[in-house]
Homo-oligomer: 315 residues x 2
């Protein structure tokens, strides 16, 4: 169809506004495919996310610029979760037929601003219009650093569990306006041997379950160590759920949840090596089941959190 092809006005716009200067990009905008190359065998990381109006965001409330920022940021957050360096982005958009001409402009400026911040080149895409709401699909290709990439599956018994910031209540704003933890993940990965990592998109409890499932282990959180955001307190005032429940189950905080050896954990707590970020030691990896301990009593922690997708049609 129209991948990266010249007749697509967004692509033409990109070609003018986003000249590719990276040596590794052999063809940017203007052919059937984008082309890049590298002479080092470091692994490539690829992630893709589709954001749907009404389901993933409310355009009227957020505005197209912030939705553009979010669409890029959620993908970069996935690259951060593997301690990777983001390199290239591909953006496909389905625009409402009756959309104002400002909509795509604002959207692309938001996408491009975040891409520029993290040195990501927008080198391909596809734009069409249709008689439906706005849809944006972004694919980001990144690379592992020389330290290698980090998965969800490397947690070991005895590991300390960390989170990079306070959690909960992201619906009050952070779910759109957040900074993907690219820089922090790379810094951490230089400093210590990260055994397992994930970005908190579904909620702390559910994302911890993901790590435990992939690492074939369990975990125990200390309830009094879980950092609770101001937004979680505000949300708690508006509903009947505690701030802790918000911190455990609200999705889209996009902080990093990771595990390291106790020795590395002690170093991180003592040195707090990431500028502007406080690292919180919130629990330990154990053999099986996911628990939360409060006043010396352990209870099973269910995978509370946001349920994506369409159920069990493939189950």
């Amino acid at each position: 169809m129209i991948s990266s092809s010249g007749e697509n006005s967004f692509i033409e716009w990109l070609r003018v506004n986003n000249p590719v200067t990276l040596g590794s990009v052999l063809k940017g905008i203007g052919d059937d495919c984008a082309v890049f190359q590298s002479d080092t065998p470091r692994p490539w990381l690829v992630t893709t996310d589709m954001l749907l109006e009404g389901s993933c965001f409310r355009l009227g409330e957020a505005g197209a610029y912030r939705i553009g920022r979010k669409s890029m940021s959620v993908n970069l957050s996935d690259i951060a979760a593997m301690a990777g360096i983001p390199c290239y982005a591909f953006v496909s958009v389905g625009l409402p037929q009756n959309a104002d001409a400002e909509l795509p402009k604002q959207l692309y400026w938001g996408l491009k601003e975040v891409a520029d911040t993290f040195g990501v080149s927008l080198i391909g895409g596809d734009t069409n219009s249709w008689a439906n709401d706005l849809v944006i699909s972004v694919t980001v290709i990144g690379r592992a650093t020389e330290r290698g990439y980090v998965t969800r599956s490397g947690a070991r018994r005895g590991d300390w569990i960390f989170v990079t910031g306070p959690l909960g209540g992201s619906i009050l704003g952070k779910h759109i306006d957040f900074t993907p933890r690219i820089t922090e993940a790379i810094q951490l990965h230089k400093q210590v041997d990260i055994h397992a990592m994930i970005d908190i998109s579904d909620g702390l409890a559910k994302d911890l379950h993901h790590i435990c499932k992939e690492s074939r282990c369990g975990a125990c959180l200390q309830s009094d160590k879980i950092p609770i955001s101001d937004a979680a307190w505000k949300q708690s005032n508006q509903d009947s759920r505690s701030p802790l429940i918000h911190a455990l189950s609200d999705g889209e905080d996009f902080e990093l949840l990771f595990t390291v050896s106790p020795l590395d954990g002690e170093n991180l707590i003592r040195e707090q090596p990431i500028p502007g970020i406080q690292l919180h030691h919130i629990g330990e990896i154990i053999d099986r089941e996911v628990w939360m301990e409060k006043d010396g009593v352990r209870e099973i922690l269910e995978p509370l959190g946001y349920e994506h997708s369409f159920g069990s049609q493939f189950g």
Copy 2:
């Protein structure tokens, strides 16, 4: 969000139904990113296409299985246009909330069938539902062969222009049920030095203009040499436009349009080296402007064809 993450039931399904055995895939389904690696410096090719119900296809007429096939095939056609080998695919889907459970199943079987045919591994994706029509976004990553990749920009004055099959009337069926010319492109590229190539998605006239624009040259087609499909004749019986106009302007034939030196061109015509495919020599590359010659008279050939996208909002 949910790239490649375990909670996504499509992704779980893929994990079971599509075990990745390629040595170069270090992480398939089940983490924040897919991970692959290669120790040869051959360039990577990336293309992405978003297909929107009502705008790009009619679900009720075509059915989800054929739409799945088409969604993969249009991307593979872009890889073919650069004479590449497709390797990895990433599929994001927005499903109508009220969709039958059969819809995603049929869609994915269609996607997977084409992927399997061409040795492509489905290693990531994202699925959500929303209160709108079906949208599918596919990104394919391929590699150049040892001969290198082919662009739109390498046509030279005197080159012979070729097309891989009869054109026009694809709306009668071929626009959905076509075979991307992956194998043919790789065979051709081994046989001769392809100077420029594109897949015919917008229509012969328009795609020839794309080659001329990127190669900074002109072209002259011989009207009596343009292969006209049976479908173009059928379409012509139903409207007031000639079969030739259909062959020139109907999009989505997904044949390859390419240029080679006259010497290579003569060899191709004499040997017809691609099994099951007749190569048609339809014109020459010249200095400037795009023309069509009929009975010794040249007329300017406008970039007739399908107009994608949303106009000139970025003009």
